[in-house]
């Protein structure tokens, strides 16, 4: 027997020892990049490290953050969702249409829920398509992207729906204490999804499916149900993000949210989640979101032309992923 060479940690606890040093380096490597950017920016820009500006950064990243957290679940199952930008538009116009004039709190809540439900339902359809009809997620959600955009345009006749309700606008523009409301919502989403992923059976199944779908099935996992669930959750979160966006821009716009899916995917990938599924964390995604946000903000503060910003953002995504690949070797 191999008794002498068997080392079983008695407590079964996650021992953080030397052998995890590479993993930790990898995890903190991302955080290091973030801190380094923060440090550099606080030297070259006086305004960067002020409370107002930091809260501003967080407010700006919250919507992409919520999307990215949902996208993390999808990508962990080795899927992808291209439709979330369009889903945001649908949920935004639905919510905006429900709060015309000066609506009360109850109606606002209903509007938020309706927006989320719309996102969830539509995403549930693409999830079902990919799970049960074996359509590749890329295609299923690409189709949903166009369909949902069309729905938003039909619903509004192509015109923006202006919102005046102060309570509704507070969702995206207000504060809870000293912290912007969207940031609080983003934090809650992170905690809820983080718990879901790390502490529930559903979370285990997500990782298992992404790691090896056939083996998950052969272990008795109801793969279809989990996949549909993941897309549903992602849709709900896209709906929530859509409502927040409508509130921030004071209107439900059928053309809003375009390209948001790519920012979300970028954040997830920068955060170290494998596009092949099975590997990745919510913490990583949060760091990814913050890296993108801080850099955007910094470039704005430094008055870099938005044309150049695009290039810089692209380079950062590429570099982050290259570094990530190297650290895994």
């Amino acid at each position: 027997m191999l008794k002498e060479s068997t080392i079983v940690s008695k407590s079964g606890a996650i021992a953080i020892k030397g052998r995890y040093s590479t993993q930790i380096l990898h995890k903190y490597g991302l955080i290091l990049i973030l801190l380094l950017t923060v440090l550099i920016l606080s030297f070259i820009s006086e305004t960067f490290l002020t409370w107002t500006n930091l809260m501003n950064v967080l407010r700006q990243v919250s919507i992409n953050g919520i999307l990215a957290v949902g996208m993390t679940l999808v990508i962990l199952t080795a899927g992808i969702d291209l439709s979330i930008g369009s889903l945001m538009a649908v949920s935004g116009v639905i919510a905006a249409s429900m709060v015309q004039g000066d609506s009360g709190f109850g109606l606002i809540l209903l509007a938020v829920l309706a927006g989320m439900a719309a996102g969830g339902a539509l995403s549930g359809i693409s999830g079902t398509m990919s799970a049960k009809l074996n359509v590749a997620p890329f295609i299923a959600t690409l189709a949903m992207m166009t369909v949902a955009r069309g729905l938003a345009l039909i619903y509004t006749n192509g015109r923006p729906m202006v919102v005046e309700s102060k309570t509704f606008l507070a969702l995206g523009q207000g504060y809870i204490g000293p912290i912007p409301t969207p940031v609080v919502i983003f934090a809650v989403v992170c905690v809820v999804i983080g718990v879901l992923l790390n502490m529930t059976k559903f979370g285990r199944y997500i990782y298992a499916i992404g790691g090896n779908e056939s083996a998950a099935k052969a272990s008795g996992v109801n793969v279809n149900r989990v996949k549909i669930g993941v897309y549903l959750i992602n849709g709900l979160l896209a709906g929530l993000a859509g409502v927040l966006l409508a509130s921030r821009i004071s209107s439900g716009q059928p053309n809003s949210g375009m390209g948001y899916e790519l920012d979300a995917i970028a954040a997830v990938v920068i955060g170290g989640t494998s596009l092949f599924g099975g590997v990745g964390t919510i913490t990583g995604t949060i760091v990814g979101v913050l890296i993108i946000g801080v850099i955007n903000n910094g470039l704005n503060l430094l008055d870099v032309s938005s044309y150049y910003q695009q290039i810089i953002k692209g380079l950062i995504i590429a570099i982050a992923v290259i570094l990530d690949q190297r650290s895994k070797r």
Partner: protein, 500 residues
Amino acid sequence: MTDFILEMKDISKSYHGVKALDRVTLQVRKGEVHALMGENGAGKSTLMKVLTGLVKPDEGEIRFCGFPVRIDTPQAALQLGIAMIHQELNPVPEMTVAGNIFLGREPTYRITGFVNTKLMNLQAEELLQQYKLNVHPNTKVSRLSLAQKQMLELIKAASYQAKLLIMDEPTSALSAEEVGTLFETIERLRNDGIPIIYISHRLEEIFKMADRVTILRDGRYIDSLPIKDLNKDTLITKMVGRPLTAIFPKEEAVIGPPVLEVKNLTRHGFFEGIDFLVRRGEILGISGLMGAGRTEVMRAIFGLDGFDSGEILLDGKPIRIRNPSDAIRSGITMVTEDRKELGLILCRPIRENMTLPSMDLVGKGLFVRRGSESRLCEAMTSQIVIKMSDFQQPVQSLSGGNQQKVVLAKWLIRKPKVLILDEPTRGIDVGAKAEIYRLISSLAKEGMAIIMVSSELPEIIGMSDRILVMGDGKIKGEFTGSEATQEDILACAIGGAGVA
């Protein structure tokens, strides 16, 4: 002067603080078949990964053809003329035989740069004839048998003007006949002066094919000597560090009432009219040639495939199995033939793999209770010794035998009524095999009903209470474990005349 083509000296490599290789030496001479032996985790695979540029050693020196070399990438290894035939073959299935042989170096027309398919097929034809692989160069690789694919890989390597070939468990999935053909090819390569490093757990093959043997144990170099100076016992002793008295520790178990009954099970084109039962405490061996339909029957019972007609009874009651989940819930579990495909989530930790089918046992409701999960895992590893650093280690970093033990542990956590084992010891070394046999024996003794599909006759005969022989999708015969001989079973599998 030295007549070594390859010398690896004092190679060391650590993973996660565990020494996988500790100052290992390997010397291969020109024109010899050199067997590399050792148990799971002895360091054979790691050593070969070092040699093929997949792993960087922490220290050590490699000399090839007398010169010190650095092998940092697989390309560097190929350029030196070191080619490996992998345990998991990877030809491109949708390309032709010729296309695969010349992949990445296709002959082209001078001006256009387009592939000269005609010339390519011609050159391929020559190679195929030279090595007596009887397929057309235009055949799609997906249509070849596993053995043919393997020979194709060999031919491809030889056509690279390889100076050294490495073969990792080349026969693990081949039938006896196919093994013969493969050996002829190896013989031809040896006569051409190409040395071969041969890794196999089948001792008979080593004694038949190898000229010299190097033995590793626990990442250390043990010995290197001509095969004629060894016999089976001395070789095993060197591999495991102690004499292996009983390989098949079959214990007498009390055989109880039938647990699983299969009646007239049929899946058109795969198997027909399958009738059998397995009792409490019984080990039912299922033998037969490749493609006899054994795996297909088991897959149907476990719910991985459907079936057209027939009935499955558990404890006398008919049950409906539409998917593995149904089977698992009724108490039927299956260790599949291919652990990487269906057995494990390789990128996830041991812990998550072990409890994946047992989420109902690690807490009620939505949440996983870490405490009870750890207790389940620890209870298992006190029964099955897995060589690991801890439960968070990803399964892909374990050796094959330890991976297989994780698969076993994952099902045993559920304390199933029926355990189906499909080739449970394929590609696993002698020591780990004995451990798995001991485990199977004690499980039967505790009252589990065990079905063991295996292509290894000694294993089937040594372990089974009863043996069914399958051929052409039907049950061809039944034997009592203690009475059957290898010849009887083989005759029944080939000829079909059941000596029931």
